[in-house]
Amino acid sequence: MRRAPLLRCLLVLAAVAVLEALCRVGVIDRFTMPPPSRILEDLVRLLIAAKLYGAIVKTLTNVAIAFGLAATAGLAAGVLIHRFRLLREALDPLFATYYAIPVFAFYPLLIILFGLGDMPQIMIAFMLAVIAMIVNTLNGIDRVPNVLLKTARMAHMSPLETALRMTLPYAAPHLITGMKLALAYALIGIIGSEFIMSRGGMGFEIAFAYTNLDNAVMYPLIVLILAVSIAVNALIGRWERRVLARRGLR
């Protein structure tokens, strides 16, 4: 069991080493991709120079706002939709199709509705993230065993108490999965809209560096975004395992 994480680290390191070698030898030319060591160096330099802090803060703040909105609204909507069977029946096909729809097409509409500030971007990210949260909330509540609800009724728990002490704790792993996906989609929404139309943020800086062939900015920023998303995911994953362990699963 302990062998797997070690092997995984070695594998990732080996892949990076191969990439480094290919870049150094010139199989991958430096206009396509600088060697990984160089990217890391550039990233440190960027972070020390502090020039892009504004962009980084703007992007991450918007992601956090969109994620927060989507997680709360998605949870509330999930609980509500679970109550109304007919609504659920109508929305199920939507959930199945939703992620094939290019939501970015609604960006111009959102700009007209919400003005030119950060709001349209946050709305795009919200629209992408909220459905993942709703779907997983429904999934979680579906799996709460009837016996728990009956026990709650026998103990004369109020609906709120039932939700807080039975439904939510039991559905927690699914809710956490929903939050993980919602976060990923919030990131995609914000950065995608910054690519399309925006005057700031990490997505804008990446697109700007790309058009100027500025690999010394583009690659470090991409790596930074990937690193942040992997780190936050790992953090949520650890929380998820703790919740499961408390329940005696795994």
Binding site: F31, M33, R85, T97, A105, F106, I225
Partner: protein, 260 residues
């Protein structure tokens, strides 16, 4: 699950009716919201449902439009084929071999949850502007869910089936083709359904950011020019296609799961 079981016991015809009732309600709801939003926002940013359908019909017979449609169809077809082959291949290998799975599954999960849209400049630099870039973009979105669901499906195959096959001295190929695959089909199908949706959006995103042809490019171009007619028509066309195919796949998915 209980709802589905009940619907099944009431007979297949009413079950079909129940299924269609949901879709019909959804279409009606979308039309109402759409029309209301149109009344609210007006011609600046939206077209009414009727206008959109009309413009889409006109677009479909326009000669300059068909190459874009063909381009997207080609890219999506290729991306889907590669996603399925890659996803099933990885899924079966990791599903059968436990250590490889323990090493690689977290990597797949990480790829699944990372914002792959960020990678478009790298894909562009590696593949150049055009067909290979969008296919690659579709594949990196689509193959992971297929692989992850296949892993789960293979791991959930009842051990007794595998033991029986061993006793019968099945070879490697027979094991996959005659035992693992049939037993794992319902869950694999769910993966294919999600893989379909994500490959489609991946291909479209690839076209939006890394291409000068195809529906995604048309959409991006229309966003830049603020051509509301084209935005509405292309989005409508893509959504209708995705909805119809997803609806069919979802129906098959449910039937497979019910039988299993």
């Amino acid at each position: 699950m209980t709802r589905q079981a009940k619907a099944f016991s009431e007979g297949r015809i009413s079950a079909v009716l129940v299924r269609w009732r949901g879709s019909l309600m959804l279409v009606a709801g979308v039309l109402v919201v759409w029309q209301a939003l149109y009344a609210l926002v007006g011609e600046v940013a939206l077209r009414s449902p009727a206008e959109t359908v009309e413009y889409t019909a006109a677009l479909l017979v326009r000669e300059t439009f068909l190459p874009h449609l063909a381009e997207t169809a080609k890219a999506f077809g290729a991306a889907l084929a590669i996603s399925i082959a890659l996803g099933l291949g990885i899924g079966f290998v990791l599903g059968v071999h436990r250590l490889t799975n323990e090493v690689l599954e977290p990597v797949l999960v990480a790829i699944y949850s990372v914002p792959k849209l960020t990678l478009y400049p790298i894909v562009l630099l590696a593949f150049g502007l055009g067909m290979p870039a969008k296919i690659a973009f579709g594949v990196i979105h689509g193959f992971v869910p297929i692989a992850l669901f296949t892993i789960g499906a293979v791991q959930n195959v009842k051990p007794v089936l595998i033991k029986t096959a061993r006793v019968l001295k099945f070879g490697w190929f027979d094991m996959v083709a005659r035992v693992l695959f049939p037993a794992a089909v319902p869950e694999i199908f769910t993966g294919l359904r999600i893989g379909f949706a994500l490959t489609l959006i991946g291909t479209l995103l690839g076209e939006m950011f890394a291409s000068q042809r195809g529906l995604g490019y048309m959409l991006m171009n229309a966003i830049g020019l603020h051509n509301v007619d084209v935005i509405m028509a292309v989005t409508f066309l893509l959504t209708a296609f995705a909805a119809i195919v997803s609806g069919i796949l979802l129906a098959i998915d449910r039937r497979l799961h019910r039988r299993g």
